[in-house]
Symmetry: C2
Subunit: 364 residues, 2 copies
């Protein structure tokens, strides 16, 4: 595909722990409901999945946060659950409840019957959206592709939605480990195809969201979540057009397992706000870049508090490369957009002091 | 008060890391909805708080799990939210939603107006229930008294119930730290009075449930949750009738902060299932006993899986004293009672091998 040259490569450099002139920043769920301009397009589209399925609209909302804020990456507007949806589980978004699947996985037979959707067919619309995003971005910033981790996808497919206890999904792991492994393997290979397709279509960095890995005990986390994220990492194209395509793994609540996560061969680890950046850097900073980790609730605080916390976060990571500033989880829908502006401004004011001003960063 | 001599002191010995003949066991929420005999008394009582407020019924359900299973402790049947209820916040238990407070804390003025309920007056009914439990127990096993940690109580008082994000409670910490400190101090001192009253009334061990400490960043956890648990620990009577009254702190999701928790001077730390017992023992086992940590969802597994996991848990802690077997969170309401039996039998079969059979444990 023809795309303009990348004018801002801070994210890609930071994820390879290469020098940058300032700490790159993007936000999980940066394109979304907290932005009035998003809500307008969302209403036009009629439904959330309708918006995901219409490449020009998906591209429009993907770029909205970059129009408003000085961000260093765009993340494809899509959902972590596109794969189970394409497997025919009947995804709906119920107001106040979040995602709900009409058809749940109940037996080993259900697992073996699951089709393996392809990026060329059932998931073609996502590839089209990636292409449309790249076209609109014109090289302003790299585009991040993503999906949910196999375990996280499996929890929604088994529970039918989110859960307080994950009792049904855990029961599968505990009582039918072989069937569980078949499900995770099928999901991992589908995810690998899907993310490879996104790279083919133009994604320049990738992220796996393991939102529910932290509800597992360490043994099952390694066996059923992390092992399959590693299987995906091993299958992904890691270079495209002469550039590294970095992969970041984010397990919410996974702060105790950073060494294991780093050992998968990923480029970056996403951190929630329960693990200090200095501690994480001491433990795995020689192997991976670190992304995070401001509490999204901090964006409800007063401007001076937000500014102070951004500075604390920078000081906690310390000098030198390998840090991608982000929240510790997705932006919340009620976040005041001006608080995001305060956060980004504070970062741009304070972060250059932690870097070498002469770093050869391509930036607009 | 006149009570029989304690015939089973395994729990009290284990919490002081003294030798025992086998690993003591009890379960968080062991008296509760998963037991048909509980549901019967609950229906008689009319309401959950009605049951808590009627000492003879509270004592009856407190003892029910000990009639059914070979347990090493009773835990008072009550709620973690008795203190905010006694502060006049209007507690109701809404089916499917859990606890809901009619009157939420919204401003610093609301905090300063909060009364400080006393164990001799507003909370007298809890002391009466403790006395009734001791009378019924007749020294069979020690009675554990408990309540919620100041931060955990505060989240319910501010959010009005449970929450996905704790945005309102965190906003208080972020934006009005002084008012937040006043609230935590008032709650801590009320908790200290309340737990001291429970010891006076007959509680032989104490536990603080910091159910929502794990949603905080490390700095706020230490400043707003742990510091106030320490303030409580420092105010509690630690001996009664010539015996140590051990205090256990449980922060769900607090596995990253065990060193800080151990430094409060508590006797035991409760662990959820995300932290391996061997790792926890290596980190803090020379300072505190460890309680835990089977995933409550494991009780939905097949009997042989439950037995294997109990053995794994024992092997993980290893030989010698200082382990109290428990779940990593409360028993879930849909737990099959026979699975609890399987777990306890497996523990009693396998745990003696990890201890000195000649340990001078008083046991019935």
């Amino acid at each position: 595909m023809s795309t303009s040259e990348l004018q801002n490569d801070r994210l890609l450099r930071a994820l390879q722990r290469q020098p940058v002139d300032r700490t790159p920043v993007w936000m999980m769920r940066q394109a979304g409901r907290y932005l009035p301009e998003y809500r307008e397009v969302r209403n036009q589209a009629g439904s959330f999945m309708g918006l995901c399925r219409t490449p020009e609209l998906a591209a429009r909302v993907t770029l909205q946060p970059l129009e408003r804020y000085d961000l260093d990456a765009a993340i494809l507007f899509s959902d972590i659950l596109t794969i189970p949806e394409a497997m025919g589980l009947g995804l709906e978004f119920v107001a106040g409840e979040g995602p709900v699947f009409e058809n749940r996985i109940k037996t080993a037979t259900d697992i073996d019957r699951l089709p393996r959707p392809s990026p060329d067919q059932e998931l073609r619309y996502v590839m089209d959206a990636v292409q449309a995003c790249r076209q609109e971005l014109k090289g302003r910033a790299p585009l991040i592709g993503f999906t949910g981790s196999p375990w996280t996808l499996a929890t929604y497919m088994i529970e039918g939605g989110s859960s307080k206890t994950y009792a049904a999904s855990k029961s599968l792991l505990y009582n039918e480990p072989e069937a569980a492994h078949r499900l995770m393997a099928k999901l991992a290979d589908t995810v690998a195809d899907y993310l490879s397709g996104q790279v083919e279509a133009g994604a320049q960095a990738l992220m796996l969201f393991d939102t529910w890995g932290g509800v597992l005990d360490p043994q099952r986390y390694r066996e059923f979540s992390l092992a399959y994220m590693q299987r995906i990492v091993e299958q992904l194209p890691r270079e495209r057009d002469g550039r590294r395509v970095p992969v970041t793994l984010f397990t919410k609540g996974g702060g105790q397992w950073l060494e294991d996560i780093a050992a998968t061969g990923c480029d970056g680890i996403g951190l929630d706000w329960t693990t200090p950046l200095d501690e994480a850097r001491r433990r795995v900073g020689d192997q991976v870049a670190l992304q995070g980790n401001l509490d999204p609730c901090m964006l409800y605080a007063e401007p001076e508090v937000i500014r102070r916390e951004v500075r604390r976060c920078l000081a906690e990571f310390g000098h030198g490369p390998g840090h991608v500033f982000n929240l510790g989880h997705g932006v919340q829908p009620e976040t005041p957009p001006e608080s995001v502006e305060t956060m980004i401004q504070a970062l741009h004011e304070s972060s250059p002091a932690y870097h070498d001003a002469t770093a050869p960063t391509a930036s607009s």
